[in-house]
Amino acid sequence: MTEEELKPVIFRLLKGVAPDTEPETLKPDDNIRTTLEIDSFDYLQFIVALDEQFGMDTPEEDYGKIQTLHTLLAYLFQKAKKTV
């Protein structure tokens, strides 16, 4: 999967937990949570959705690595490499 293919999936998942937001407007280095005003509960739901979508398990200590679109994509690519 390329970055361009991944982005819409991420946006869809974000939209799922926070229907009234516009994830498409996120810039690569925006903090996803603060920009979209997602609280800890909804962010946990997003991670649940992420894990289900990509069949992975994101440990709590990694939450800090997926704060922006940029770092999230990097994290996903890194995970993908490991599993491949």
Partner: protein
């Protein structure tokens, strides 16, 4: 005979509109069954019945707006029916269960309205029974009818709802309440609180290092779906503190009324603005995992305005906890008739002096807003110190 009345879904509710009956006369109902949909300023609620029995008579018509406490339906309690049946059998009068017991005579409540108000209401097809009068002895005046007419005009979606309610199969509209109406309802209750309750505030700082470490450790062994959020610890700590200091788990209604059950209302902010406060019942008896399960279940329902009457009634103490990255301190307003509210800011790193040494710690600022009629600073402080103790010793939770 059981009178099923419009329930109060919190201090901010004065009246509710019956949107739809989900039962009909003759239906058997069990305690906990949802039998009606009621619209309030806070949105649409499933209304549950609290007794087993049979629906005798649906007194209230769909679409009618009535004050809290108004009889909506008459039920026959199971016991009653059985008793009557037994008696009849004893007398040899009938072998079968009587299908119907004597229908109670319903005198329609008298509506006091001025002749002019009646005339205008008739012209505008406005139901006087849904209007609260502001005239002499609560009589409905011209102005009241005109206000009702204006409201009706402003919210055509309400009419739509009333229409859809006519068709029992219609899907439930979930975003009935607007953020504004919820906020107005909350504001009304808060105005009352500020007017009537002599608030006092206490504040303490809590070192959350151990609690967060405990959570991180606990979450390592859990799947994402089972992971705990700090709020689960907060709720548990409030429950334990409330059990220790029962004066704050109470109502102020003609004096202090201590409550046995600890039902903790948790403030949930809606994305569109406004708040809802569902309560975790018997919180002191729940494990942290059970609390987290409740959170996982209740937040989506609250945010989709899909709460039931039992979710938001009988709250005995309220907890408001700001989201991460928010302000560090919150001073809450007590939700009447409760007598205390715990306010938690977001955790922030702060310099921390301990044993003559300076360190940086994750710090939670906890405040207590309490009703001075019900308690004083000493009692409030005992509560807050107990809460602090539990969070500093998370394993004790």
């Amino acid at each position: 005979m059981i009178e099923f009345r419009m329930p109060s879904l919190g201090a901010d509710m004065e009246a509710g509109t019956l949107v739809e009956w989900l039962v009909k006369p003759g239906d058997a109902v069990r305690r906990g069954d949802v039998i009606a949909l009621v619209d309030t300023q806070k949105g649409l609620f499933d209304i549950e019945v609290f007794e087993d029995g049979t629906v005798e008579n649906l007194v209230l018509k769909e679409g009618a707006k009535v004050p809290v406490g108004t009889v909506m339906a008459i039920l026959n309690g199971t016991k009653e029916v059985v008793q009557k049946a037994t008696k009849l059998e004893e007398a040899g009068a009938a072998r079968e269960m009587p299908r119907e017991v004597i229908a109670p005579v319903q005198t329609p409540p008298e509506i006091k309205a001025s002749p002019l108000a009646r005339r205008i209401a008739k012209d505008l097809s406005i139901d006087l029974s849904i209007i609260k009068g502001t005239g002499e002895e609560g009589a409905i005046t011209k102005a009241d009818v005109e206000n009702a007419a204006a409201e009706k005009k402003q919210t055509p979606e309400q009419e739509m709802r009333a229409e859809t309610a006519q068709q029992p199969s219609s899907p439930k509209e979930k975003t009935a309440a607007t953020a504004d109406s919820i906020r107005m309802a909350v504001a009304a209750a808060m105005s009352r609180a500020n007017r009537e309750i002599p608030h006092y505030y206490l504040e303490t700082k809590i070192d959350m290092r151990k609690a967060l470490a405990w959570l991180a450790e606990a979450n390592k062994q859990r799947s994402v779906k089972q992971r705990l959020l700090p709020v689960a610890l907060y709720i548990k700590a409030v429950a334990k503190a409330a059990a220790e200091v029962p004066q704050l788990n109470a109502y102020w209604e003609d004096g202090l009324q201590l409550k046995e059950a600890i039902n903790i209302g948790v403030v949930i902010s809606l994305r569109t603005g406004g708040i809802l406060i569902p309560a975790l019942r018997d919180a002191e008896k729940k494990s942290i995992d059970e609390i987290m399960e409740w959170i996982n279940e209740i937040i989506p329902r609250a945010r989709s305005l899909n709460l039931r009457s039992s979710d938001i009634t009988d709250t005995t103490i309220t907890l408001t906890s700001l989201a991460e990255g928010s302000a560090e301190t919150v001073y809450g307003v007590i939700y009447p008739p409760q007598v205390a509210l715990v306010g938690l800011g977001s955790i922030s790193e702060q310099p921390w002096a301990e044993n003559g040494m300076l360190d940086v710690r994750p710090v939670l600022v906890a405040t207590l807003a309490a009703d001075h009629r019900a308690s004083d600073g000493q009692i409030g402080s005992r509560f807050l110190m107990a809460f602090k103790h539990y969070l500093q010793e998370p394993e004790s939770l």
